[in-house]
Symmetry: D2
Subunit: 338 residues, 4 copies
């Protein structure tokens, strides 16, 4: 890291900073400019709190040189991770993953029906909500345990892995018992206790980007999970909060090439939650695949206006089928398959 | 609410929407314009999901007329809530609350020392972190249960209420046993399970605004807590995420008059977390009081560079004392006391 | 529009609002709810200032029902505009436009060289800056008039239209004399005097979205130009400002389907300025085409590190050629050509 | 500046960067870490384009150490600038400036009436719009030249300086002839041609922060003006664009202490445009003064609902008087006067 001293820093202050850095295992290299002194420090800043040094007299700022995450970074692992999901599905390889299904599990009959429809159209992973985070305390909160059983039954019948969200540390064991992929929702991306808890299981984790999280914070959340021993983290870009309100969130399509440069973990695009509007889902799904995502997650419902949750962003089965055809063409144009 | 139909909506579509609305207890009032029809619907939209109607053929959009929260709103309760904290302290009345203390509880000796210092300078509530949310899995996570005991001892010795954060549903009972005020941190503002859990206790809840939460979402989080029976919610503005990066977050000073118009709940300003920089804390604290906040929360540390957490934003005791003098003058200028 | 009255609005206040609305040509339709009265008003709100009504006693808020722009809207013109550029090029039809060239015109030799390279790779419009907006007063400001002549020469030699920016009302006539397309840069999107001035010419206008402009504001800027008689406006999405700083701006890919729903004007994607980083340009260009953009604008430079401006975001010729191949495949997958 | 090399940068790449830096007048100081090499470069980066170096093989990133502006910085001038306005008014000293008046100059009678009212309440500078930037091409654009004459007459009659906006390079001479302070509006903060033009006059410039401008960009805009020879720049914080929509913009109160640390230029708070709502203006004005602003700008109108522009944010005369009393108390509490 680089320590930038104030313009008028005293020689004694510079010396004190060097001494501090040396005492915690850094080698220091001061550079004296006409107005400013900066100190290059060689060592591993992840071991110490930068604030100890930042608060020393004469220090203006500290510039980190290395990213704060390690296990998630390409420093540690250059080749891309290909994550085994079970039921013959992997994420991160040449073939794209297609997660599809209704927002919430509404009933056994409905979920099985939707599962068959999305499988027929080409999806290879079932998605559905058993525990639902809702902004209103008065809204439908999900079938919970019953929903998990329904999803498992559908997954087994169709030989497809299932992905569902967990919201509470107390429910992690239960969800892990049924699900093939455990989802951490956007609102819980910095629920650190929950991250640690899912890190102790060995099921793949589907980590949605927080509504207003930077890419660095997102990779630090992945690092939390990985630091407990679970390396199977799949990132999911689902839109960030901006001032623009013609869509629910702004799908950050650049996050796809940026994360692929910084981490070996695969990344999936979720156009349904990003746009919040079925009229824009297909365009954004195509954009995600074209940008290089390792998969897409699409909400599909046969009767969006009857949906218990998030109907406005769900595609009807026929639109989903049409989209799948377009996605196959786009994937082929960049050397991938669906 | 107002249902806006598409420009070319068919008469049959308009009729279907009216029928649907009537069937769920609304009275409808269609208005036929030259290009557009809109339908006024009288009733309580909080009972139904807007998406059922939004997805009907011919519907362009729905405009809610009433706010989505009820218990937190001024519709229900016009006069401002004055919340009893214990140890003779209330929040929401003429006298401002001053929460002060170190970011984290570091040791018994240190916390007691800091508690005495902030009390002497005029603070009336002790703050400190026993469970610490940290963006890095490798950073200090707090003394946990031991920290709670230390805070309680300090609170009892100095006859001051204590405020501390809970991060996990599994820890709520433990924190409630020791704390006078239970804090929900910014990253957990939409951890709905945790909101419900603290709503089942009767201790006042200190609800920090999420990093990228709208004021409506914040009041919906308060509604979650209140819907479980706990009306003692104190709001805390601690900065929102914006593109500006000269401060850690942007302190949204307008949130103070805006929430005072929408809700009866009191609001406290936290300039320490908003700015993340001790050099700006005093100016923003003064701004919060001048804007009409019911209190301030200030991090104070006798050796910021040794602090286990958030040293760069902590005020030294002498700066805190000087700030308290300024705040007294400003409070007096607008008819409040500290 | 819908006028929402305060909860406790007096009957006399409601009557006064109705009278005011009637006096300015609206028909009113009051709807009396249990707590609130709302007034539907039929007429053309674009004729009056909403603030006259908004300030009346008892009024809480006004909800517009119609978009504020008219000439740019699909209300007026359902079919997509196909804009004639000259030199056999159109924008908005089945074939995509590819604007390419260096950020700034640096010299006659260099521009001609780059022009031949991008033409050979498949570009059909030349871009280049003669007048350069620079955040620093000490940076290279462009060759100005000399640059315009060089661009014109290149365009004529290669039979390609040229697109270049104008920044000052005093330069509009000069730029219009040389350019086939006049560009309004992001920082001038709400330079209303400049918008009016270019609206008085009949050359197509390339209107970049402001750094922090909503889609509605952008279409209002188009309306400014069109209200002066120039209907040939081409929109350009070039990234918006958000909190995320791993790219210069955040490319708002959803703006492509959203504008296509709201306006008949064509839209072009500019991944170079959005990302500010050549490593991400190809992925975002592919995303733009996949989402349905009517064209792309790409900065190309044979020696990015020698570029007088914006080198870090420029593609080298060989990368541009490779990208063009990918874009052709993606365009084909969605029924377009390049 | 610090050049950060890629992890796997070759020794020859490092040497080439050093050679390049040396050739343009820098002294280089490489620091070799276990994984990374960084190169400290001593010299004046404002002389060269960073992109030349950034594009060299093996370079990952460049970290500037010095701020990009010079004339506006405290490096050059430590003591705060006190700007002479004329009519006995200064800005930047102990006494605060109070700009007040209607949004637009509507008529001679009305402006004179409002001018007398705000003077009586304690304002010392008249504000008013002769040229009005409007988001809609169909809205009132101002009285232009006639408005300037009216303002001048009022200023002379009441012995008060006047402040008004210029939007077009072609109008600068005209505005400079009448106004005591020339305002650059938020939407023109990066209209570089206009900045240069006003920099060539010697009248004080009131530089509003752009809607989505960083503090660094704002100070670079000041630098543009100053680089032409006009040092009399007054900054004005008027709210930034964020996701929160309960106010028109988010007043960035921290910008007051931040700019006071970075520049010697004075700063004024504009709560009227920031909030866009008269109900929040007083709270935010008090916050601005408490945070240390050198003045406030308040829109005042005797009949907000009749105002030709921005009525909803204007204070009635009696509210303005009440606010002035509160501001005097707050100013006194921090050692200032009004």
């Amino acid at each position: 890291m680089i320590i930038i001293m104030l313009d008028n820093a005293a020689q004694s202050e510079i010396a004190a900073v060097e001494e501090k850095l040396t005492s915690i295992g850094f080698q220091t290299h001061p550079i004296y400019g006409e107005k400013k002194t900066v100190i290059g420090a060689i060592g591993d800043k992840r071991q110490i709190s930068m604030s100890e040094v930042l608060m020393m007299p004469g220090v203006e700022n500290i510039v980190p040189i290395m990213r704060p995450y390690k296990l998630a970074s390409k420093e540690l692992k250059q080749e891309k991770s290909v994550i085994e999901i079970g039921h013959g599905v992997t994420i991160g390889g040449e073939k794209l993953a297609v997660f599809a299904g209704p927002c919430a599990v509404e009933s056994r009959e409905h979920f099985l029906k939707m599962a068959r429809i999305v499988k027929a159209a080409g999806a290879n992973i079932l998605r559905g909500g058993a525990f639902k985070p809702r902004t209103s305390p008065y809204a439908f909160g999900g079938l919970e345990g019953e929903g998990l059983k329904i999803m498992r039954e559908a997954g087994d019948e169709l030989d497809m892995p299932i992905c569902t969200e967990v919201m509470d540390t107390r429910d992690v064991d239960l969800v892990a018992e049924y699900a093939d992929i455990i989802q951490i929702g956007a609102r819980n991306m910095q629920n650190f206790k929950l991250l640690r808890e899912v890190g102790r299981h060995n099921k793949p984790i589907f980590l949605k980007r927080g509504l207003a999280s930077t890419i660095d914070e997102w990779l630090m959340a992945a690092e939390y999970i990985m630091s407990e021993g679970n390396d199977n983290v799949i990132l999911c870009e689902r839109g960030i909060r901006t001032y623009e309100n013609s869509t629910r969130n702004t799908f950050d399509v650049s996050a796809i090439p940026v994360t692929q440069e910084l981490t070996h973990l695969p990344i999936v695009a979720d156009p349904s939650h990003a746009t919040g509007n079925y009229r824009y889902v297909a365009a954004v799904a195509r954009a995600g695949v074209a940008a290089g995502a390792d998969g897409v997650m699409i909400e599909v419902h046969d009767c969006p206006k009857c949906a218990a949750s998030d109907g406005p962003q769900s595609l009807k089965p026929e639109r989903f089928e049409a989209l799948m055809k377009e996605l196959r063409g786009i994937a082929a144009a960049i050397g991938r398959t669906i």
